[in-house]
Amino acid sequence: MSDPFKVLTSRTLVLSQTNIDTDQIIPARFLTTTSREGLGVHAFHDWRYETDGTPRPEAVLNRIDPSEQRILVAGANFGCGSSREHAPWALLDYGFRAVISTGIADIFTSNALKNGLLPVEVDAATWEDLAANPDQPVTLDLEAGELRRGNHAAVPFTVEPFARQCLLDGVDPLGWLQKHLAAIEAFEHQSVSEPVA
């Protein structure tokens, strides 16, 4: 698990197109890795590089300093498609620590939360304003559950409470699941009679 996530203040990068799928975030041909690390160079690969591998200078993802713009503002239905956890791994390795959209796909949300990438869903008006002001610093306060920017009123957001606590504490949820081992064994005795094979 990553470092605890409490408050993040950063400028944003806006990719306003809707339905940015996991094949855009990390194309399948980079999934033959057996580690979690090093996928950032391939994040949005086909947007960033020519077929021969040369970087496209006009691609915004090649122009920004990822350590400065750690919040991605993306169009609706972000992260749709595959269950590949390589998508949040690639975004984190590139430098993002949070994604804001009006809608984020289920499995992507689940995967992001387990890796310390904060998915934040906001209403359309807030999103429009964020998208129209790409460089403005935004604060995501997980403890307070608030998005703050400039002199706008704070916008509340929610994260599944257990995942939120894990993020705040920087702990991996597997430990919590393991505490149920006695209950799991009892369940197997009682309810799971039929072997699979």
Partner: protein
């Protein structure tokens, strides 16, 4: 009388180890965990780093499918992997399975296949089960009345270590497809019509139950195709209540109970159907009789329409970008542009009836010169049965390539790719930009449509050819899967 329950409620309740609370998710037991080479290596590393072992190797089954070549091994036994890294990934799964006592349908196994083709055909998938896999198309197994969904790699580690998942219960959506499907309309066409109706993210947060006369009329393979694509509407899972079709399909498969035990199990499976009066969070109805062969025109699976209908006017920048990428113009049909590649296969449409439907179109015909057509059976079992029926010779005689099982051009990570700018008709499930190779343009369609398009060299409604094919009349008269009688 207790509150009426949905199929989803019943399966969920049977697997709840601990109920969810406002502060914590529930703990859900997993009956069957399917594993493949791409999404598992980091999960095995995770549990090993904590000194944990695989808790229930007897409930864990693995296969090689995503990064595996579909061309056979050379004379020296070496496989034509696309990269050394792909080969290393396959070896990693072999090592992980050997170390943890997990059965792997590896290169030497007659059982090897795309994970969602293999599970059902071995009878590993059964009604009422929970099935998970590090793959979003795990919903396929819901065709049997299982609750089946895709998970990420961290969760693969959770299931390896505990046989459980942390879950909050999704909402329930019932999609009812009424009426009788027209001849030449398949489960794939229904899936594309449903996704077009729901919208790409329209199922987010839901588990879908497919119901209605048209769904009940599908064979198990058609039902698997339909459930398979639930994720393309954003849904976690798709389910269909078990019925006589389910029970007959599973009877005698390797891992199902035998004799009287099977009848006992089957009687239980029939109780899983949603109770009359069960309440869904959302309901959607479609007229199945109105569905005609479908194809996509955009770069999301919901951007589909009946073949021959004009491409809709773009409603957003994303639509405009999709049309520009595809090279299609609003107001025009997509049936005129030359097709370069046709792919028949994947966990959506790589099963025997899919290959039969394609072969019924191709028998006695040749594909258009210049079109490259790849037929990739979904599993070794499908390959054996297809070859026993002579389908391979039909494909080869028509000018197609007959490959060994794998995901192949569905995900294009094994070296089977569609070239930049090329137009492909594909029986797989995703038409995202670059999904079949950088710059590849994908039209999703049924196996019969793909085969008809290979012959015509442009996207083509398969009924054009099927009307000339006697087998079509026989098959439809008997209301059996298309072309099932004497191919």
């Amino acid at each position: 009388m207790s509150r009426p329950e949905t199929l989803f409620d019943k399966v969920w309740n049977r697997h709840q180890v601990a109920a969810e609370t406002p502060a914590t998710p529930g703990v859900l037991y997993v009956d069957l965990h399917l594993v493949h080479e791409v999404t598992s290596p980091q999960a095995f590393s995770d549990i090993e780093a904590r000194g944990l072992t695989v808790r229930r190797p007897d409930r864990t089954f693995a296969t090689l499918d995503h990064s595996t070549p579909t061309l056979p091994a050379g004379a020296d036994g070496s496989r034509p992997y696309v990269t050394a890294q792909a080969e290393a990934q396959v070896h990693r799964l072999e090592q992980n399975c050997a170390r943890h006592g997990i059965v792997l349908a590896g290169w030497d196994s007659d059982d090897r296949g795309v994970v969602h083709v293999m599970g059902p055909e071995l009878g590993l998938t059964r009604p009422g089960m929970t099935v998970v896999c590090g793959d979003s198309h795990t919903a396929t197994h819901g065709a049997f009345g299982a609750l089946a969904f895709g998970i990420g790699t961290s969760e693969v580690g959770h299931v390896l270590a505990t046989q459980c998942l942390m879950q909050r219960k999704p909402k329930a959506l019932r999609v009812t497809v009424d009426g009788t499907l027209q001849r030449g309309v398949s489960g794939k066409d229904v899936a594309l019509a449903v996704i077009a109706a729901l919208g790409f993210g329209g199922g987010t947060g839901f588990v879908i139950e497919y119901a209605g006369e048209a769904v009940r009329g599908l064979d198990m393979e058609g039902r698997m195709t339909l459930c398979n694509m639930s994720i393309e509407a954003g849904a976690r899972a798709g389910m269909i209540a078990p019925d006589a079709t389910t029970i007959e399909w599973l009877r005698g498969r390797r891992h199902v109970p035998e004799g009287a035990a099977y009848e006992t199990a089957a009687a239980d499976w029939l109780t899983l159907a949603s109770d009359p009066g069960a309440v869904f969070d959302r309901e959607v109805r479609l007229d199945g009789a109105a569905i005609t062969p479908m194809a996509t025109w955009g770069t999301t699976p919901d951007a589909g329409a009946p073949i021959g209908s004009p491409v809709p006017q773009p409603g957003s920048d994303s639509d405009r970008k999709a049309l520009a990428y595809m090279g299609f113009t609003a107001g025009e049909a997509t049936t005129t542009q030359p097709v370069n590649v046709v792919f028949i296969g994947s966990c959506t449409n790589g099963r025997l009836p899919d290959l039969r439907a394609a072969a019924a179109v191709l028998r006695g015909r040749r594909i258009k010169p210049g079109v490259r057509m790849l037929v990739v059976p979904g599993s070794e079992a499908v390959r054996r049965e297809a070859e026993a029926e002579g389908l391979d010779t039909v494909f080869i005689a028509a000018g197609a390539e007959w490959r060994i099982p794998g995901c192949s051009m569905c995900i294009a990570m094994n070296g089977d790719v569609v070239g930049a700018g090329q137009l492909a008709i594909s029986t797989s499930n995703r038409n995202f930009e670059g999904r079949q190779g950088k710059g590849a343009r994908t039209i999703l369609a049924s196996p019969a449509t793909a085969a008809a398009s290979a012959v015509a060299g442009v996207l083509t409604d398969p009924r054009v050819y099927l009307q000339e094919t006697a087998i079509f009349k026989q098959a439809s008269a008997a209301r059996a899967p298309l072309g099932a009688q004497n191919v």
